[in-house]
């Protein structure tokens, strides 16, 4: 219950920060959800259950409603890709082993990058600007994802499983 409340607050803050770009110093032209998406991915991989997906999905839909995105592609992609990753790991307690496989390290980053790229699809007509926008989004998104993954790793290291 504590972790649920904690993630609720964390996601709400992420949505809040990203809907007010000036707060985080994010240029308003960045539309790839560099703060919310890593937070949502962290939430899913923290809970590793349907609850995490619902929570993250709700946050991403909320973020979509507050911004001017055309389609809630991030919510769909993040949830489907994360569910696929979780599905491919039959051992529910895999995350909490002391040694992570390379897949476990890479998966959140790949999902974050794919989601960021997908959110730029509506700007496809301005191909020249897309690369720059993607680079700017990933410059925020990937380090932020690294922080979230490190938190997940520390949690597994200390084996602080939720009851």
């Amino acid at each position: 219950m504590k972790s649920l409340a904690g993630w609720l607050l964390f996601l709400w803050m992420a949505v809040l920060i990203e809907s007010s770009p000036a707060l985080a110093g994010i240029p308003s032209s960045i539309t790839g959800g560099p703060v919310v998406v890593p937070a949502a991915i962290g939430c899913i991989f923290w809970f590793r259950s349907g609850r995490g997906i619902l929570l993250a999905g709700t946050a991403l839909i909320l973020h979509w409603l507050l911004t001017n995105q055309v389609f809630p592609i991030a919510a769909i992609l993040v949830c489907v890709l994360s569910a696929w990753c979780l599905h491919s790991e039959p051992d529910a307690d895999n995350l909490f082993r002391r040694h992570w496989t390379w897949r476990q390290w890479v998966q959140p980053f790949v999902i974050a990058a794919v989601a960021a790229a997908a959110m730029l699809i509506p700007l496809w007509s301005t191909k020249a600007a897309i690369a720059a926008l993607l680079a700017r989004t990933l410059m925020i998104s990937l380090p932020w994802m690294l922080v979230v993954v490190c938190v997940l790793r520390i949690r597994s290291e200390f084996d602080t499983r939720r009851s």
Binding site: S20, L23, A24, G57, L65, L66, A75, C79, A92
Partner: protein, 315 residues
């Protein structure tokens, strides 16, 4: 297995919700909800700003400072301009009221213009000179009245009008249909006259371009319009420094050298530079090959009442 089913069912729920929300937003059903959401996060934003004011200022400080300075400069400049305009406006108002007072003290008398243009309607008898039937008819009737054939018959091609020197027509007068120029009278006999169309290679007239824009119409460059046969007309003599565009309208600069009504010639359909540093402008005439059955001959007329009054005053 149960856990995986739960994960996929939750994923499906998120996907369905996303799609539903998308359609709802497309149909503007979520406008109110979005407004409420935006209103709801306003206090939270304010709290975040108060907790971490440095976050916003540090990251955007440089850009904000330069933008602010630039805006302040613009504001100052605008204020100076506003004050200058206020002063100028006041001065112009003063001049206007002074001029109005002067005008009120002077007696204004409306007088008729000295030169007036009158239109004489004529019927087109032929489009290609005088044919044999017409010639014979006129010669027979003229001979009965004691006129020589040279006073009755016109040689050459062009449009033949049924008015001649008997209506005081003379060579050089412009012929129009409404306000559109059809040509110019080149030869006049007793009862008929010959018109040279605007497309005739020997036709020329002083013209002025009129350009249309969002701000309205404006007078453009002056030039010389010349007939170009089947290709319509061309305007030459416009230097490259003048502005010419396809779609400009071509009007007469004067009527037989007298400032009079602006007659319409046609539209600019092509404009390109020549090697000589001038514009070569092609014009499609309003009346090119197909002439109406009735045309109007424009004649300048001296206003007799004005001259009579002036004579009487001098006595």
């Amino acid at each position: 297995m149960k856990r995986q089913n739960h994960i996929w069912s939750c994923t499906l729920a998120v996907v369905l919700t996303s799609v539903l929300c998308f359609f709802a937003r497309q149909n503007h059903w979520l406008t109110n909800a979005r407004f409420v959401l935006h209103q709801a996060i306003v206090p939270a934003r304010a709290v975040l700003l108060s907790i971490a004011p440095g976050v916003a200022t540090d990251s955007t400080a440089a850009a904000d400072t330069s933008e602010l300075t630039s805006l302040q400069d613009q504001l100052l400049e605008n204020e100076i301009q506003r004050r200058q305009l206020l002063i100028r406006n006041a001065r112009l108002r003063h001049e206007l009221s002074a001029t109005q007072q002067q005008l009120e003290s002077a007696t204004t008398v409306a007088a008729p213009d000295l030169i007036q243009f009158v239109g004489l309607e004529a019927q087109v008898l032929s489009h290609d000179g005088m044919n044999k039937t017409l010639r014979d008819l006129i010669i027979d009737r003229g001979t009965e009245s004691g006129l020589r054939p040279a006073q009755l018959v016109l040689q050459g091609s062009g449009i033949v009008l049924d008015k001649g020197s008997n209506f005081r027509l003379e060579a050089g007068l412009k012929v129009a249909s409404g306000h559109a120029v059809a040509g110019r009278i080149t030869k006049v006999s007793r009862w008929v006259s010959l018109v040279q169309p605007v497309t005739d290679p020997e036709f020329s007239a002083a013209v002025q371009l009129v350009q249309s824009s969002d701000a309205g119409e404006s007078l453009g460059a002056r030039g010389l319009l010349q007939g170009a046969g089947d290709e319509g007309c061309v305007v030459s003599g416009i230097p490259y420094t003048e502005s010419v565009a396809v779609g400009d309208e071509v009007f007469s600069a004067d009527v037989d050298g007298i400032n009079g009504p602006r007659l319409y010639f046609g539209t600019v359909t092509k404009a390109e530079f020549t090697d000589g540093g001038q514009w070569n402008v092609a014009v499609t005439p309003a009346i090119g090959q197909h002439f109406p059955d009735r045309l109007t001959v424009l004649k300048p007329k001296l206003n007799i009442h004005t001259t009579a009054r002036a004579t009487g005053d001098s006595r």
